[in-house]
């Protein structure tokens, strides 16, 4: 055991909180306008803006390893490009 319970960050020890999810957010990349509003609000920081198509703005992309399926992203999306579906 670590003396004094002084520990270091190690992502491999992180619980994969994606298995909390019972609803899954899905991004409609055609609809997404790349405004990145959802990015800052996601409690798990699972959303990244990623290259979608040449000449287009980067689009929201969700990391399901940690996404808990809260639905905040779908709620804040100004164009309703994220839909919550049964996991």
């Amino acid at each position: 055991m670590e003396r004094g319970a002084i520990i270091k960050h190690d992502q491999s020890k992180a619980p994969k909180t994606g298995n909390w999810r019972y609803m899954k957010p899905e991004v409609d990349k055609e609809k997404c306008i790349g405004c990145s509003t959802c990015v800052g609000y996601c409690p798990e920081a699972t959303i990244e803006m990623k290259k979608y198509k040449e000449g287009q703005k980067d689009k929201a992309d969700i990391d399901y390893e940690y996404c808990k399926g809260c639905g905040v992203c779908a709620e804040v999306c100004p164009v309703k490009a994220i839909l919550m579906k049964k996991n």
Partner: protein
């Protein structure tokens, strides 16, 4: 995961789905940069981010106890000062403390006051969810008037909490700190600006951030941003700052909505919409109007 947003606090933490404070923590720490030490009072943030063997913290972090986060960072900051003088530390380091309202308004109040008075160079951020959420929703001195909690339940002879929320910012201001402000997780741009200002200011600085709790305020996990927005749109939670004694409202709704619009989104205020509690609802609206008028008056001075 988003690399830019996880330089300090990483996923894998066990905050509830739809919790508000991770966005606050990330926004504040992104302004602090890489060279930062985080202090944390016992509470939701602490228990969800440091469950052995995993720590979500990629930066140096210390949790001591519930009521002593400010005293603890006092020790860290002075250690830094002397070790820097002795050449054992070379970088310029920022010190940021996170505490909930229980650990700040109530049990950590003395420790905070002492640290503010001594003038340590640190930034204290209180994420305010209006009660003891980590222990299952008991009232704190930050709980709003009229809230039904587990220890102030609404009932035949009770409309919930009968006392008015402690005005912590005014008390903090009375210590003569150079910067104190109120922010809201719904407005990340405003939060970011305030965090930046606080971190650039030498000496003790303070930020009170509105942080809805899905579990104990009783609203769906998807709603924290919407509810937090309504708090400011109804003037329930005004956004303002006090810089060297000068008040400034940083965002003002064009036409404030009635506070009922905010209250009706949460189970903790459900009882206020009964016929019997109509006067309480009216009283809440009056109190909000008066408090906003007071801040507006001070901002005009």
């Amino acid at each position: 995961m988003n690399k830019d947003l996880t330089k300090h606090h990483a996923p894998g933490h066990s905050a509830c789905a739809g919790c508000a404070f991770p966005a606050i923590v990330r926004t504040v720490l992104n302004e602090a940069g890489e060279n930062v030490v985080v202090g944390n009072a016992t509470g939701c943030l602490e228990v969800t981010s440091t469950l052995y063997p995993y720590t979500a913290w990629k930066v140096p972090y210390i949790h001591n106890a519930f009521e002593n986060a400010a005293a603890t960072i006092s020790g860290v900051e002075r250690a830094y000062k002397i070790l820097k003088k002795k050449g054992k530390v070379d970088k310029k380091i920022k010190f940021v403390v996170f505490g909930g309202d229980g650990g700040t308004y109530d049990i950590g109040f003395q420790s905070l006051s002492g640290a503010l008075e001594r003038g340590h160079d640190f930034f204290y951020v209180c994420y305010d969810n209006g009660g003891y959420m980590n222990t299952g929703n008991q009232r704190s001195s930050a709980t709003p008037y009229g809230t039904s909690t587990e220890t102030t339940p609404a009932g035949k002879q009770s409309f919930g909490k009968m006392e008015v929320r402690k005005n912590l910012i005014e008390i903090v201001k009375a210590h003569g700190v150079p910067y104190a402000a109120q922010a809201n997780v719904a407005n990340l741009t405003d939060l970011k600006k305030k965090a930046k200002k606080a971190l650039e200011t030498e000496g003790p600085t303070f930020l009170l951030v509105f942080s809805p709790c899905t579990n104990n305020w009783k609203f769906p996990t998807s709603q924290y941003v919407n509810i937090a927005k309504l708090a400011t749109e109804t003037n329930f939670w005004p956004l303002y700052e006090i810089e060297n004694g000068k008040y400034k409202i940083t965002y003002e709704p064009n036409s404030p909505k009635p506070v009922a619009e905010f209250l009706k989104t949460q189970g903790r205020f459900k009882h206020l919409f009964s016929e019997k509690n109509k006067p309480v609802l009216e009283q809440i609206q009056r109190m909000i109007n008066e408090e906003f008028a007071r801040i507006a008056r001070l901002a005009e001075e």
